[in-house]
């Protein structure tokens, strides 16, 4: 049993800010004491730093099993820890996808020893084909709480999984999350960016916002019909934000997230044909970006996620229309958001930690209030230090990120997972 003391930092939680030390226990995995002048077996210096609950990513794509990439699950979890994450929801679109208890067992075994909690998500349909329901009851019994749907085209199927899932939640404290990516893939097949003046000028196939708008509307309408609680991930358009805002006003059980990239960039950033700005959903107009920021400000959008995609650095050396979508985001999303979004730390932690915890139902345990008895999943963040991802050279994949050469302000100093540090003084604990 090791007691680690986190000393000299400013605790930031739902109750406010205060300069206090805390002690965490690696055996129980919990916070054991919060106070002044505390000492433990190991001391982590947090002077000048902000201490909060660890970040939770609501959707990150991992590369195992089966997707050719330069990153194993364990490596992704290390990137996550370096980025301040203590949990991440792993998207099921691996090869084979996670649609059975056998695949779940495989994913769990590959995740053993990871530097962050890997929360498995299962697909709503067998093989992700949008036709037959996965054995959801069996998966729930095996511990799955998140079901992910990627643009299933058939409305009847969407209704069925909403209805079926709504009767399966084990109890109130352990809700089921139905995470939907809302896209009409028939509207603009072959798209590579947002359809608009920029795509027109660049000669790149575009997808109009209506591809998201129509399916968000469908998801909300079917959510109403079935009473399902839904989560809409990675919003990209002002129309999408509007629809969610209205649904929330009407009392519908819906939550939504957005990636940091969609809050920072827009379609014009594709002008140099740089594949680092190729995303799914695409970066849309500046006005959509403003609407997404307003959505975050007024609570329409509950959280910020990374939508991490692990690709080899080669994708930068391909034509824009051939390059894969997305970029790695686990190591830089927090710093990027802190540098460019002009949000206070507490607000950022709410978006990247407390709100995801509430959506996943781990609210009770997650240290949204830093007090004894809570799980010791913590982040110690140095808000002033300047760095560039290129300098740190964490992995060759990082080249794919738009922030690769950007000078970011703010870096994770320590990350604690279940009472044991995964990152000490900005380095991984081996």
């Amino acid at each position: 049993m090791t007691i680690t003391a986190i000393k000299g930092g400013t605790l930031v939680d739902r109750d406010g800010e205060r300069r206090l030390d805390l002690l965490v226990d690696s055996d129980s995995g919990e916070i054991v004491e919060v106070g002044s002048g505390l000492d433990g077996d190991v001391t982590l210096d947090a002077s000048g730093c902000l201490v909060s609950s660890g970040l939770i990513d609501l959707h990150a794509q991992l590369a195992e099993p089966g997707i050719e990439a330069a990153e194993t699950i364990l490596e992704s979890s290390e990137m996550a820890a370096l980025g301040g994450f203590t949990s991440l929801v792993a998207e099921p679109y691996t090869d084979p996808c996670l649609d059975s208890t056998a695949a779940l067992a495989e994913a769990r075994s590959l995740s053993r020893g990871a530097s962050a909690r890997i929360v498995p998500a299962a697909t709503t349909s067998v093989g992700g084909r949008g036709e037959a329901l996965t054995s959801m009851a069996e998966l729930v019994a095996a511990g799955v709480r998140v079901f992910s749907d990627d643009a299933s085209p058939d409305s009847g199927f969407v209704r069925r999984f909403m209805e079926y899932l709504s009767t399966l939640a084990p109890d109130e404290s352990s809700p089921l999350v139905l995470s939907l990516l809302c896209e009409d893939q028939t509207l603009a097949p072959g798209w590579v960016m947002h359809e608009g003046p920029t795509s027109s000028e660049l000669g790149l196939a575009g997808q109009p916002s209506q591809a998201e708008e129509t399916i968000v509307a469908r998801a909300l309408a079917l959510g109403c019909l079935t009473g399902a609680r839904i989560h809409i991930r990675s919003l990209s358009s002002s129309a999408g934000v509007e629809l969610v805002r209205l649904a929330k006003l009407q009392g519908q059980a819906v939550s939504a997230d957005v990636t940091v990239h969609h809050l920072l960039y827009c379609d014009e950033d594709c002008s140099g044909y740089d594949p680092r700005f190729k995303f799914r959903p695409p970066l849309r107009r500046a006005a959509d970006r403003e609407a997404l920021r307003s959505g975050v400000a007024d609570g329409t959008i509950d959280s910020i996620s990374t939508h991490h995609q692990p690709y080899s650095a080669d994708s930068l050396d391909m034509a824009f229309d051939q390059a894969p979508f997305g970029c790695p985001g686990l190591t830089t999303s927090l710093a990027s958001a802190w540098t460019d979004l002009d949000l206070g730390f507490a607000r950022l932690v709410e978006l990247m930690s407390w709100a995801p915890a509430a959506i996943l139902g781990s609210h009770g345990n997650h240290p949204v209030v830093i007090e004894p008895g809570r799980v010791a999943d913590l982040l110690v963040f140095d808000p002033e230090i300047k760095w560039t991802p290129e300098q740190r050279h964490l992995s060759s994949m990082e080249r794919q990120s738009p922030t690769y050469r950007q000078t970011l302000t703010g870096l994770v100093r320590h990350t604690i997972l279940g009472g044991s540090p995964t990152v000490i003084d900005r380095e991984l604990v081996s």
């Binding site: 097949p189 359809e195 608009g196 003046p197 795509s199 027109s200 000028e201 660049l202 000669g203 790149l204 575009g206 109009p208 140099g272 044909y273 080669d314 050396d317 391909m318 034509a319 824009f320 229309d321 051939q322």
Partner: protein, 320 residues
């Protein structure tokens, strides 16, 4: 290092310089030995990732008539497939000490990306649906040969605008040179946000055909998928094609242009392609001196002297 990636890389006065250079190289073409030593010792690579006999031959001849060494690289021969690293290919070529890369690729933006991986001059010979600057230059040269200038001319561009790099380059070049451009196509073939382009838009060629100075036709193809933007080509011809009847209505001194290859009986009737007002073959012929001018401008001294002669040619009497 300068490149020619899009017509927007050229200022209006640079366009003027290139057209003057083209005039001089045109005259050189007419000689017994249409060759000048201006680019002797330079190496120009033809990196055609997308097939094209016409454009490649035109660039190849242009480079050879300037006495440059030409290296032909074609995607098929190198087993380069989609998604492979273009960068690796380009870096291999660059290691051979080359001066210019003429690139054609089916993906928009590749020539721009190539400028990041090589220090050679990059000439865009057509990238995806984005740009084809030398086509626009030879079109401008052909049109101004006929009318004396482009300023004030009325030009209609008809066909699949949304997928046309030729249309995009011509719209930029012609509007900056002072022409009034109207795009004619069904809405399904218009590019998105066309209202932000410096053009007018018409949904029928009949309203304009007797008023324009140039009818510029683009090739229209029937796609095999059910998602085709056109019901069929017969309907296209009926509403938008330059039929014999419509050609009859055109002004006697107007011009008919097409970047080729033509689809007789679709966007242009067979007879009309052979009409005396058709500049189609002149466009092809002008491709070579235009491309000589571009290569000379990028790699050679690239100037005309006070008497309007091409400078920097080694042999005495070579440019008389």
């Amino acid at each position: 290092m300068r490149h020619l990636l899009t017509t927007q890389d050229l200022s209006v006065s640079e366009i003027g310089d290139l057209l003057s250079l083209t005039e001089r190289f045109s005259e050189i073409q007419a000689r017994d030995v249409p060759q000048v030593p201006a680019l002797r010792g330079r190496t120009v690579v033809m990196a055609f990732f997308e097939d094209s006999t016409r454009t490649r031959s035109s660039f190849d001849l242009a480079a050879r008539r300037l006495s440059a060494n030409v290296l032909n690289f074609s995607a098929g021969a190198s087993s380069l497939s989609k998604g492979e690293s273009i960068r690796d290919t380009i870096e291999t070529l660059t290691a051979m000490e080359i001066d210019a890369i003429v690139v054609r690729h089916s993906s928009s933006g590749v020539p721009a990306q190539i400028t990041r991986w090589s220090d050679a001059a990059v000439v865009n010979a057509g990238d995806g649906t984005h740009a084809h600057p030398t086509q626009a230059l030879l079109d401008a040269f052909t049109i101004s040969q006929h009318f004396g200038q482009i300023d004030g001319l009325k030009v209609a561009i008809c066909g699949d605008i949304s997928h046309s790099r030729v249309a995009r380059s011509n719209v930029d070049l012609m509007t900056r040179l002072g022409a009034q451009v109207t795009l004619v196509a069904p809405a399904t073939l218009m590019p998105p946000a066309v209202e932000t382009w410096p053009v007018s838009v018409a949904s029928s060629i009949d309203d304009l055909v007797d008023q324009v100075d140039v009818v510029y036709l683009l090739r229209v193809q029937q796609e095999r998928q059910s998602s085709s933007p056109l019901p069929n080509l017969v309907e296209y011809r009926r509403k938008y094609g330059l039929t014999t009847e419509r050609a009859r209505a055109m002004k006697p001194d107007s011009l008919i242009c097409h970047p080729g290859p033509i689809n007789r009986g679709v966007e242009i009737d067979g007879e009309v392609a052979d009409d005396p007002r058709s500049a189609i073959l002149r466009q092809v012929a002008n491709g070579i001196p235009v491309r000589m001018a571009v290569l000379y401008w990028l790699l050679g001294p690239g100037r005309l002297d006070e008497t309007g002669r091409v400078t920097g040619l080694v042999e005495a009497g070579a440019d008389r």
